[in-house]
Symmetry: C3
Subunit: 173 residues, 3 copies
């Protein structure tokens, strides 16, 4: 059965841990699809810390750009994508236009909704602060906001994490 | 019957679309009161995009400063004000003190609560990030926060939009 | 009876006022434990404004660093700690490492859970904006996020304030 679960929240809101809990509770085998690529020590640290917290038997894939293809090719019943926000950042870095990013998001949604199994999408809320000074950050905020809206709309369940606690946006309580 | 609906959320959270949906569902004629004035191409773009998404038969008013008067003079059963956050920004730009801004907000609330019909207030959450470096941004965050609190308190229904999905803060579920 | 209540929200979201309302409604005597120390006029202004809004008969303590000890020594049935976010900032300023900060938070939780009475913890959400430019702000966002998660998990009730209105994260509605 196809099921898409959307998990959003701020930085260090517990969204990854919550998504991993959902994946673990399924009792099924899990592919963890990471979109982050370490480009400095701080980043490598964060990635290493995250990885150490995941069950050792999970399959880990790393794909910064061709995420819809990676989701399509994953063989496990559960796929956890962490995260849309880094993926959108990567696409911008690779000179995708806004339209190309939204097209890629539409492909991701198509693949997720036509998959036999569960897809858990983790993302970030980045628009609840003061308007950023630089235009690139404003563009990122806009595009990620659109991607989040479309993915949330296409999901069966959606949760907002705050201080580690989930608020139900949609679906199960 | 007087009804005040408060719709808040981050940037690109879907708050304007949600408010427009509420206005459209009313089946009544709608005045769209825009507080934004385009001062550069990026802004003009945003405004144009928003306008293209609205029903063509809605009345559009533009009023950056004298918002209570504009709300009072609108003749349609439904008035959608988009948005408080830009209005507060405009008042600061025109050298209103904090007290004058709160006074203007009190007038808006008075006019909205004494109107025969529905007023939908759209605004932004801007206080969920790191404390901004510059004092003006901190002042904006404070004053908008106070305005939002007072308008939310005076409303019959209030919603927080996250990734396009509404959380009920107050009123109908 | 031990009760721990966690109140979070953005800047000017009404979280302090909500926490003070909970404390006042208890009908018990209250210790207000402030973690903020004024180091400039803007700050002094904010603190003075907050203080003027509190009932005159409350006991006010100021403790920027040794918060667990202060909570332990408070003699009233209700203790309101405002706020974790400033406390974490103070600990960073005093060169505490991340581990030392988390250890201090664990001590606070231990003291709060072993106290006969109510502890109300006020804090800030700071992770819902764009990733900050400077590393110190990123570290603060991370550490405060962890502290918030642990305190929220250890609480009996938890609320998110948005525009002055509470969303229940946990416990009573």
């Amino acid at each position: 059965m196809t099921r898409v679960i959307f998990v959003t929240g701020g930085a260090r809101s517990g969204k990854s841990a919550y998504a991993e809990g959902l994946a673990a509770q399924s009792g099924e085998s899990v592919t963890y699809l990471a979109t982050a690529v370490a480009f400095d020590a701080e980043m490598q640290n964060r990635i290493g810390r995250h990885r150490a917290e995941r069950p050792a038997h999970w399959v880990t894939l790393e794909e910064p750009v061709n995420v819809p293809t990676a989701v399509h090719s994953a063989g496990t019943p559960v796929l956890l994508l962490d995260c849309l926000s880094v993926w959108v950042n990567n696409l911008m870095y690779h000179d995708f236009t806004d339209e190309q990013i939204l097209q890629a998001a539409a492909e991701l949604i198509h693949v997720a909704r036509n998959r036999a199994g569960t897809v858990i999408l983790v993302t970030n809320e980045v628009g609840f602060g003061i308007v950023p000074d630089n235009a690139l950050a404003r563009r990122y905020r806009d595009v990620l906001g659109w991607v989040n809206q479309r993915c949330a709309q296409a999901s069966d369940e959606a949760y907002l994490l705050v201080s580690g606690l989930p608020l139900t946006l949609k679906g199960k309580p």
